[in-house]
């Protein structure tokens, strides 16, 4: 029954779309095979830039996120400035649209004309993405840390572990495992947001910009769909992996639940 109704609905949807008066025009502007083929090589080349961007950015983001989360978790009075700094960082960089941050870092930093600040748009884009996603990831990791019951920390301390040892060997392993799905979620989001760096005139250009260049030149939107396929080819497997991780964690919890 499920299969039948799905087939019926899909068929109807396809029929409605294909029989609509504007369909030939839509097909030509969005689903043109020749345009897809012509734009493919440049977009494929561009996608390598996207991959490079998020592969370098993600480890940096995880490090920053972890450090900021730990800073926010400190309790002692001496650590107050660090704690305040962490709060301000998260509030500021999570609150600002990522594109604005890309402009601010990408065009604003070099305009300061200070020594040591990179002019290279790839590095600047990397910094902007890292700052933005670092704030998100810090909050995710903090949520994970806070989800660990205080009794565990107390138990570890009573066994003679130092505060640092407790965080490292008791709290973090459990916390990080718990937030793995939302972290992967942010990773997927980062993959797509690498396209924002194009606003800086990134060279070599990334996939979406290559698609846009072709689109603007030929007045045909098909290359945008080609770029979309590249992104989806990466994000869908990752999404299934995230699902699997989540389900596994759930299954473990249930099997370990009260008898």
């Amino acid at each position: 029954m499920a299969a039948l109704s799905t087939v019926v609905v899909l068929t109807l949807l396809v029929l409605v779309t294909v029989s609509s008066p504007g369909w030939p025009r839509v097909k030509e502007t969005f689903f043109s095979w020749p345009e897809a083929k012509a734009s493919f090589p440049a977009i494929a080349r561009g996608f390598l830039v996207n991959i490079k961007l998020f592969m370098i950015a993600e480890p940096l983001i995880l490090v920053i996120g972890l450090l900021v989360a730990l800073a926010r978790g400190t309790r002692t009075a001496v650590m107050f400035p660090l704690r305040a700094l962490a709060v301000v960082y998260v509030d500021l960089f999570r609150g600002v649209p990522t594109l604005l941050l890309v402009y601010l870092v990408g065009f604003g930093l070099p305009a300061l004309q200070l020594r040591g600040i990179p002019v290279d748009t790839f590095k600047l884009g990397l910094i902007a993405l890292t700052l933005s996603y670092g704030a998100y990831v810090a909050e995710v990791i903090r949520a994970g840390i806070e989800s660990i019951h205080p009794d565990q920390r107390a138990a570890a301390r009573s066994l003679g572990l130092s505060a640092g040892q407790t965080t490292r060997s008791v709290v973090l392993p459990q916390a990080l495992r718990r937030v793995a799905p939302p972290l992967l979620n942010d990773f997927v989001s980062l993959q797509k947001d690498t396209a924002l760096v194009a606003a800086l005139g990134l060279t070599p250009a990334e996939a979406l910009r290559e698609a846009n260049v072709y689109t603007a030149e030929h007045f045909n939107y098909t290359p945008l769909l080609v770029a979309a396929v590249f992104f989806i080819a990466l994000t869908i497997p990752l999404a299934r992996f995230t699902d699997w991780l989540g389900n596994r964690a759930l299954a473990r919890q249930h099997s370990a639940g009260p008898a």
Partner: protein, 300 residues
């Protein structure tokens, strides 16, 4: 996964089918307003004097000429980002064309149309779009263009203290990192005529390109000559026009007004532009708003 119960599923399916059928009926005849039904003549040859009177024109809003351009509207094509003031080359041209067609200044309404959206399929909410859009054969397959109202030379802008500041040939720019705006002839000219060894940086708009030039993130930017005049004279201190060149790839590039494919208005606008060319009005507007290019060296 199975649906809860059969009757419920049937109701659900029936409702869905009903909705879809409704959607088909609701979506079906949208041809009436756009030129989808009968293919309208797209060139000016068939337009007669009668068919070009304001009353007989097929307009988005009857009795009003709706003209589109992008936001922000850049100098010297517009002035103060306000297309309605009649100042700046393209604003002046639009009003001159409107007047020739028989519209008063009050009957001209401006709307914002992002360049990326201007060529989307479907009916438009403007009669024509005037936004420094180059006429190319690839684009003319999707939209209609008026005859050209301006032929733009391309110009290379550098900072005075750049190591490329004394280059006199296009070949001398081979090693330079060059920037240009997306969707422009300038970008194609940079790619095909200069052929630099590193990829041309593509910016969303002129503002971003200017900032990158200022920051030293690119060595030079390519823009059409009037824009280059404005940038070097009014916007970026310490920059200069290295020289001008005509793009050799393909046809001489002209700016045209953009129309929905099959819009019969094209013929009437072409006639108006033709008249403005013959009586010298277009030339006068160009003289008034676009700096002359006599003293800019040619890059060969």
């Amino acid at each position: 996964m199975t649906l809860a119960s059969r009757p419920a599923a049937r109701v659900w399916a029936a409702a869905l089918a009903g909705t879809l059928t409704l959607a088909v009926t609701a979506c079906a005849p949208s041809d009436s307003s756009s030129g989808g039904g009968t293919p309208a003549p797209s060139s000016g040859k068939s337009a007669t004097a009668d068919s070009c009177s304001v009353d007989s024109l097929k307009l988005v809003t009857p009795g009003t000429l709706t003209v589109a351009t992008d936001q922000p509207a850049y100098d010297p094509w517009f002035s103060n980002n306000d297309p309605t003031n009649g100042k700046g080359f393209e604003s002046a041209v639009a009003y001159a064309v409107a007047k020739k067609l028989g519209f008063s200044k009050q009957q001209v309404k401006w709307v914002v149309e992002p360049f990326n959206k201007s060529y989307a399929p479907g009916s438009k909410d403007f009669d024509f779009d005037i936004n420094q859009i180059s006429i190319t054969p690839a684009r003319a397959k999707v939209v209609d263009f008026s005859t050209g109202y301006y032929r733009a030379a391309q110009a290379v802008i550098v900072m005075n203290n750049s190591k490329y500041a004394h280059v006199t040939t296009l070949a001398g720019l081979k090693g330079a990192h060059i920037g240009a705006q997306i969707g422009t002839t300038s970008l194609l000219a940079a790619q095909n005529d200069i052929k630099p060894s590193s990829q041309v940086a593509v910016f969303d708009d002129t503002n971003a390109a200017k900032q990158a030039l200022l920051n030293g993130q690119v060595d030079a930017i390519v823009a059409d000559l009037p824009t280059a005049f404005y940038i070097t004279a009014a916007e970026i201190k310490g920059s200069k026009i290295l020289g001008q060149f005509q793009t050799t790839s393909g046809h001489p590039e002209e700016f045209g007004m953009l129309f929905e494919k099959g819009n019969p208005l094209v013929g009437c606008v072409d006639k108006a532009i033709g008249a403005l060319k013959r009586n010298g009005a277009l030339h006068r507007i160009e003289k008034q708003w676009l700096s002359s290019d006599v003293h800019v060296p040619e890059l060969s």
